[in-house]
Symmetry: C2
Subunit: 162 residues, 2 copies
């Protein structure tokens, strides 16, 4: 029984990630950045994008592409959590703080999770009650020696559709 539930859940995640990719592909600037949904595991959603499509005049990752990938990883994470809970919502970024810590010479790899002081249970129950909720997310672009090359702290707001 547990195995069946676990397989069902994995299948829900896979189909939701596919749906997220379709939304990303429907946005011309995101398509141009070639941003791909990579995976979702242990509360962390990862996106990837090739450096070649996101390079600046200095040969490293363009700050706007880093901002876009980090913001989208947070947006995708919040959207995924709502879908897995059976909700149909529009998710927007409300605000964000970005720190660019070192140049990125590799492909982009944004990974998002709930902020340390945020929790999905509270977010989802607020959404179910008020048809609107917000949550804080942190997203990082890995750098060298385990330190992030860029970081985003952002708040995302979800509105029930219809």
């Amino acid at each position: 029984m547990l195995l069946v539930l676990s397989l069902m859940s994995a299948s829900c995640v896979s189909s939701s990630l596919l749906a997220l990719q379709q939304v990303l592909d429907s946005m011309p600037p995101v398509r141009a950045m070639q941003i791909r949904v990579r995976d979702y595991r242990d509360g962390c959603l990862r996106l990837a994008a090739p450096l070649a499509a996101n390079v600046n005049d200095k040969g490293n990752a363009f700050g706007g592409s880093l901002a876009s990938a980090l913001t989208l990883s947070g947006w995708a994470l919040v959207t995924l959590q709502l879908r897995l809970a059976g909700h149909d919502a529009e998710v927007y970024v409300a605000d964000s703080h970005l720190r660019y810590l070192s140049p990125v010479h590799e492909d982009l790899a944004a990974q998002a999770q709930a902020a340390p002081d945020a929790d999905w249970a509270t977010f989802l129950s607020t959404f179910a009650q008020r048809r609107k909720a917000r949550i804080a997310v942190v997203a990082t672009q890995p750098g060298v020696d385990g330190r992030p090359a860029a970081e985003l702290s952002g708040r995302f707001v979800a509105f029930a559709r219809g």
Copy 2:
């Protein structure tokens, strides 16, 4: 004499804006967003980009494109001020705070200027002395009724080349 100086200065601004456009066009993600240098007047640098190339799944401006255009308007302003002062520098965004206040249903129009507590004379003299300097910039995307639809407060750092 004043008229000649003023004409020379206008010509310097024009050629610097053209050089900035060439740098923007050399970056694949910026070219995809079709970001254009519009003008520079009274300390304010403006960029523009068509909504069609920057639209999200909801039919309004993609947050990553707004972040990119606002960040680039700040980057272009700092680069321009350094060029007009005769400096050759690499300019990077160090950090930024973005607020998305209302959906943008029009073309993107980022406008950047020095933050209220920043001043170009101090920035340029620090750069001349230390070959490195940073300055705070504010950039906005206009919204309805004179209120911004999105705002960026960011710090940019310049390093002397060579």
